[in-house]
């Protein structure tokens, strides 16, 4: 479904990604793990179009999306849940969600999707009229994910969802993502928490210094010597 071929990316003159190749098949839950500064977020930003690749290809369902700007990539069926969340803090939960469905012109479909999303996240329904900026960290993450769902994406890119969350909330968030996977959404998740990621994802890529260092199924990686010593601390 998603293919990155020999992707190079830079911020101005600073090159951050070298020759990244990876793929995500439909229905999978794939993790992108590695240390801070490895280029994980940069990879997601390149896919969604917030960053233009310096070289290489990004293919989504066969189409090249590398040069496309973010709003067009979103409209093609990919949602990006950024690390900063980028919520509309002065708007209500409901308005944030409705804006999530901006690319869907039909009002009826928007409302149906809203009901579906409220069904997945009942806590958000409770706080429908509340301003996004006044909610707790965990609730805002849920809102960001829910808003991403409003566009009916086929692929969801999630950037460090566990950041700043207490452990039991992290479980909640990861479980929500699993629910979404079961609802038919393919997920590519960037994370620093390796253990938790490998428990919930099907496969993962390990990024180090802007390159793909390792890849494999979660089971393979959990058993892998380097992963165990560097990231799991065994």
């Amino acid at each position: 479904m998603l293919q990155l071929k020999n992707l190079d990316a830079s911020y101005g003159f600073l090159q951050v990604l070298w020759d990244i190749s990876l793929h995500v098949d439909e229905g999978e839950f794939v993790g992108l793990i590695g240390p801070n500064g490895a280029g994980k977020s940069t990879t997601l930003k390149s896919i969604i179009g917030l960053l233009t690749p310096k070289d290489g290809e990004i293919l989504f369902e066969g189409q090249s999306i590398g040069p496309l700007p973010a709003y067009q990539v979103t409209r093609m069926g990919i949602s990006y849940i950024s690390e900063a969340l980028n919520l509309f803090t002065d708007m209500s939960v409901r308005d944030n969600l409705l804006l999530g469905a901006y690319s869907i012109k039909d009002k009826q479909t928007q409302l149906e999707t809203l009901d579906f999303v409220f069904g997945l996240f009942p806590r958000l329904k409770e706080r429908e009229g509340q301003l996004a900026g006044t909610m707790s960290g965990g609730e805002r993450k849920m809102l960001a994910i829910a808003r991403g769902m409003m566009a009916k994406p086929r692929l969801m890119l999630v950037d460090e969802p566990s950041l700043g969350l207490a452990p039991h909330l992290v479980t909640d968030v990861f479980n929500s993502l699993r629910k979404l996977q079961k609802a038919g959404v393919t997920i590519l998740m960037v994370e620093q928490r390796v253990n938790a990621t490998l428990e919930v994802a099907d496969r993962a890529y390990v990024l180090e210094n802007g390159r793909v260092a390792l890849q494999g199924t979660s089971d393979e990686l959990t058993a892998h010597e380097h992963v165990r010593s560097a990231y799991i601390g065994v």
């Binding site: 709003y71 979103t74 808003r147």
Partner: protein, 349 residues
């Protein structure tokens, strides 16, 4: 405690969450009463009508700053162009009406002039955004945008004012009145308002309400507000930023042009007619809080009250001293403005 976002509650929100704002709002109401009682109802009417005009101008400015992050110092030129367009549309109508009787044209002619001004104003905004600001945005590095955009607007203002002087001459061009009828009088309160002023106030209010409705209740209006709050978030929900910038500019310049057109019989049309509206609109926006659209509306009336009170009791030439002094005080004590600012890029530097 849940906070909701219906129309009324937004206003209440702003007041109760913000003690400085409540004090100012209450103080302004008191001032209005004082003006009405001690200065006469005529003065109060004057203040309210002027307030409507400043509110309309300030809203456009607040929009451009809040959405596109441009400190727009060419706003007065949209006002000026609106006035000229209205003049060139209405002058032939006026000449025609002098010799021919046509009640429909008499009543609606001025509105045609104002509408024409709005359309031209919109086109101007779209043109400026696409031809000047869009290329500037592509070329500008992070952190330099605000200054670059500001300088560009100064240049635009300079070119438009001098271009107009070159083509149309520096002289006042205007009309004595839109509707050749007696002013409306309310003898018991010694109030006399010309129909022109009354209608211009009505146009200002209707335009503000229409704009408010558009921003709060329509899909595209919500998209504009989204871009003002979080550009990246807006992109991530599929909003085309360039489209929003163009539309916002067009709306802002259109509203300023409508203001200029509706006030043609009072201000007349000449190349620098837009400068005073420009400066006053900026006092309002800085006082109220940069990028704050609701605040700009309230601020317009507050500044008008201050100006009227100053003219009444200190002296006509002092009219702008008090608003400017207030602005300086605000910048010293509450730099984000009385009602709070909603800006994104200014803190970058």
């Amino acid at each position: 405690m849940q906070r909701t976002t219906s129309f009324g509650s937004v206003i209440v929100e702003r007041i109760t969450g913000n003690p400085a704002a409540s004090v100012v709002m209450v103080g302004s109401l008191v001032l209005a009463v004082v003006i009405g009682v001690f200065g006469g109802a005529a003065q109060l009417v004057n203040a309210v009508v002027t307030g409507g005009m400043w509110a309309l101008l300030a809203v456009g400015l607040a929009l451009i700053f809040g959405v596109a992050n441009v400190p727009y110092f060419a706003h007065g030129e949209s006002f000026m162009i609106g006035a000229y367009v209205a003049f060139f549309v209405f002058d032939p109508i006026k000449t025609y009406l002098q010799d021919n009787s046509n009640p429909l044209l008499f009543a609606l002619g001025p509105f045609a002039a104002v509408l024409a001004a709005g359309v031209v104003g919109f086109a101007l905004g779209v043109g400026l955004e696409r031809l000047l600001f869009y290329p500037l945005r592509q070329r500008t590095k992070a952190g330099e945008w605000v200054m670059n955009a500001f300088l560009l607007t100064l240049g635009i203002s300079f070119v438009i004012i001098n271009g107009t002087t070159l083509v149309l001459g520096p002289n006042f061009q205007g009309i004595p009145y839109y509707w050749a009828v007696d002013p409306l009088e309310l003898e018991s309160l010694e109030v006399r308002v010309t129909v022109d002023r009354l209608v211009s106030f009505g146009i200002a209010i209707i335009t503000i309400v229409a704009l408010w409705f558009f921003l709060r209740r329509t899909r595209i209006g919500r998209a504009i507000r989204a871009v003002a709050q979080d550009e990246v978030g807006a992109q991530l929900v599929g909003i085309n930023l360039n489209f929003v910038y163009v539309l916002t500019f067009g709306l802002a310049t259109a509203t300023a042009a409508i203001a200029g057109a509706s006030l043609l019989s009072i201000f007349q049309a000449y190349p620098t007619v837009g400068l005073i509206p420009l400066y006053t609109a900026w006092y309002v926006v800085i006082l109220a809080g940069l990028g704050n659209v609701a605040g700009a509306i309230a601020g317009g009336f507050i500044v008008a009250l201050l100006q009227t009170a100053t003219q009444q009791w200190v002296g006509i030439g002092w009219a702008n001293v008090v608003p400017i002094a207030a602005m300086v005080l605000v910048l010293l004590i509450v730099p984000s403005g009385i009602f709070g600012s909603e800006v994104k890029g200014v803190q970058e530097q």
